[in-house]
């Protein structure tokens, strides 16, 4: 996988900051992504900018589990039951799977407004004509509660309810929970369930390892009167401190899920009773069970502005009129047009579908 830590200065940047990345074919959306994210494996993996703490998380988990499986499991498997390393193994794989899913997914980033859209909004806001600054909030009624939608100056959009702008990643994220440095990514609508399952399974794994390491110590030192394994001390230390923080965090997020709130809303006390008797959460489905089901088993939305499929061979882009005219007039032909995140790119893609896809299979968007 080629790494690309580039972030373009703006949505219409024509020059990539890393010339080595430039390809003659039309650039993919992740290459012109305006936020401060890192992309790997041709845009399939999306992370936040600072990934140092994520590597620490990986090291801690791999080290502790590695020590457990190497030094404790053989003893436990032979003296107690081989089910212990089996269950441990399943838990470990689940934890790693959920960690990677939470870290590498798009959290639900809202694409920035196209220039046309931004201009349209500006016109609407300035249409009052008065000398006062234009309103930068909109009020909507959601299930009986008044919710204020704020205007984001970076993304030039009115943020949907529950969305928030992450200053670290420089993106507006839907149903923004928080930016987690341990996971190296924002936690939002698309990866909240993976984050929750990660901390939940990690709690179980930590408790599991802690319990069986203690069992190992007791059995080997007290019962069999053997010397304790040195690695045991490290494992016990890591697990002991992790348990308090991770189990606590799991408990907190279980509460948030059951009341259908985000960390952001809870910290601000948006739906707290302290603000007033009539203040309630308009997003809650009513019961704890329905809130949990919705958060964990609800439909998973795909990425907004998905990348076009890679397997479809990119067709020869139809020559624009101006190119033909230029050649007719004897002018130098312009460089091949690069589709950018501009006003036309989405429509151009669609229309390419109509051109290419007329008669052929489906409405698969093709990158022109």
């Amino acid at each position: 996988c080629g790494g690309s830590g580039c972030s373009s200065p703006g949505a219409e940047a024509a020059e990539p900051c890393c010339p080595a990345q430039r390809t003659p074919s039309p650039r993919r959306k992740w290459q012109v992504f305006p936020g401060r994210n890192r992309f790997y494996c041709d845009g399939r993996i999306m992370m936040g900018r600072q990934t140092g703490v994520f590597y620490l998380t990986l090291v801690l988990i791999l080290l502790t589990c590695g020590l457990f499986f190497t030094f404790d499991c053989p003893f436990l498997a032979s003296n107690l039951t081989p089910a212990i390393p089996a269950v441990g193994g399943v838990l470990f794989i689940f934890v790693m799977g959920m960690l990677f899913r939470a870290s590498f997914s798009d959290p639900g980033v809202l694409p920035r407004a196209t220039p046309d859209e931004a201009a349209h909004l500006e016109r609407q806001m300035d249409s009052t004509g008065s000398s006062r600054p234009p309103p930068r909030t909109r009020e909507v009624q959601i299930n009986g509660q008044t919710v204020k939608l704020k205007y984001c100056f970076t993304c030039k959009i009115f943020r949907p309810p529950r969305a928030s702008h992450c200053s670290l990643c420089d993106n507006c994220v839907e149903r923004f929970d928080h930016h987690c440095p341990w996971v190296g990514n924002c936690v939002g609508r698309r990866n909240y369930r993976f984050f929750y399952l990660f901390i939940l399974s990690l709690s179980f794994l930590t408790i599991f390892i802690f319990a069986f390491v203690i069992t190992h110590v007791i059995l080997s030192c007290v019962v069999l009167v053997l010397d304790p394994v040195r690695s045991t001390v490290l494992e016990v230390l890591v697990c002991f401190f992790s348990i308090w923080s991770i189990v606590g965090l799991s408990g907190f997020h279980t509460y948030l899920i059951s009341s259908n709130q985000t960390t952001n809303e809870d910290i601000k006390g948006s739906w707290s009773n302290k603000r007033g008797k009539d203040n309630y959460n308009p997003y809650s489905y009513g019961t704890i069970l329905s809130n949990c089901c919705a958060a964990l088993c609800g439909p998973l939305p795909p990425r907004s502005v998905p990348e076009p499929p890679r397997s479809v061979p990119e067709p020869e882009p139809p020559r624009s009129v101006s190119t033909r005219t230029r050649t007719k007039l004897g002018l130098d032909p312009p460089p091949p047009p690069l589709p950018l995140l501009g006003s036309g790119s989405g429509t151009a893609q669609y229309l390419c579908v109509a051109v290419v896809g007329s008669g052929s299979a489906g409405s698969v968007p093709v990158c022109c």
């Binding site: 859209e117 439909p299 795909p302 502005v305 005219t325 790119s345 151009a348 669609y350 007329s358």
Partner: protein, 167 residues
């Protein structure tokens, strides 16, 4: 019909390529070939009255009054809203899919599409169909909202050259 699409695509690419500002000669050639130019864009915003579910306002924009029938437009938006509601529906089927996915550590989505993705494809086909049948003959173009992060339905209004209003 395909010919008309090609013309629209070609013009739109000219609009997208910011470095290409047509010269007088090119504009003249464009006129000769009767290329429709983008006159303006209308944005249909989201309707958040029912919560964060994807729903667009059915209010008819005034800029489209001369171009398309109000009933037709409202029907298109309402159908889109219904399709998005189907994608985001919470019920037995979506819970089953979610539980199965969780049990397989979400690896099942390597081989199968999510329900949401299937409905999004349906929506893309519907929009293409509506554009071909209703909006393109009237010089309008609906952009799939997924291209804008499900924030707006962008409707591009092309200049009506059939009346002979030249530049």
């Amino acid at each position: 019909m395909v010919q008309d699409w090609r013309k629209l695509e070609v013009v739109d690419r000219c609009v997208a390529d910011s470095y290409e500002t047509p010269t007088m000669a090119e504009t003249h050639s464009l006129q000769d070939l009767q290329q429709p130019a983008v006159s303006s864009k209308v944005f249909v915003q989201r309707d958040y009255s029912s919560g964060t579910i994807c729903k667009f306002q059915t209010k008819f924009p005034s800029e489209l009054e001369s171009r398309v029938d109000k009933q037709q437009f409202e029907e298109t938006i309402q159908t889109l809203n219904n399709l998005y509601a189907e994608a985001e529906k919470l019920g037995g089927k979506s819970y089953l899919e979610g539980c199965l996915a969780c049990l397989t550590a979400y690896t099942i989505f390597l081989c199968m599409e999510t329900h949401y993705e299937k409905v999004l494809k349906k929506i893309a086909r519907y929009i293409k169909d509506q554009n071909e049948k209703i909006y393109a003959p009237r010089g309008l173009l609906l952009t799939d909202p997924i291209e804008r992060g499900l924030r707006v339905v962008e409707i591009t209004i092309f200049e009506d050259r059939s009346i002979g209003s030249g530049r």
